[in-house]
Symmetry: C2
Subunit: 124 residues, 2 copies
């Protein structure tokens, strides 16, 4: 079984928007040598999720965890992501595809966001 | 000088989307007793930023730090937020209004997001 990670982000028109997602990917590649880590987008940026998965499957991956790099769980995670996952599972019957929860809901991420807010208060 | 914090988020159609932002606000209110902490949205949810600031100024606040609870810095933070800040400063000449950087760019938030991704790998 060969595992991989896909960081699923929204996408935006401004190229600058992608910087923290690319930094997250690059940090994970250092932290997880041997595990493929790639970015995929819902819209406006490439690659989209089905293409990102197809590329990993072509590299021999058969167990993919998708982490939604979204703060909140709105329509994109409640409807768009499950629909994409269904389409991907139909296209790759041998693939195990797991969907994590929104990164912004994680208690550790919440604590780090609180710290940033406290440090920012009056000190921008 | 009375300081306050405004957490500035995008907004979405699904009410469930706001949950992690409300949790962040509630945690900060516990951590910063005596400092007003409120949420404001760019679109789709209320209150919008100008109304949130007006409410704090009416409560005697004269130094507001706005923390963009956005992962990436795209058009909303590069154009929409500065335009809103200009409009707010014109409406409240005695107010000190400071804008922090996108929360997703903070190294502490990045580290917490990496940890969440590593823990999620194969364990959703």
């Amino acid at each position: 079984m060969k595992r991989a990670l896909v960081l699923f982000a929204h996408g935006a028109r401004a190229a600058s928007w992608a910087a923290p997602f690319e930094r997250l990917r690059d940090g994970l590649r250092e932290q997880l040598p041997g595990t493929p880590v790639t970015l995929a987008f819902l819209e406006l940026m490439e690659p989209r999720l089905p293409e990102a998965v197809t590329a990993q499957v072509a590299d021999g991956v058969d167990d993919i965890t998708v982490v939604p790099v979204f703060l909140g769980q709105g329509g994109h995670l409640l409807r768009d992501l499950p629909a994409l996952a269904e389409q991907i599972r139909a296209a790759h019957p041998g693939l195990r595809l797991q969907l994590a929860g929104a990164i912004g809901e994680d208690p550790g991420v919440q604590a780090a966001m609180r710290d940033y807010c406290v440090r920012s208060l009056g000190n921008v």
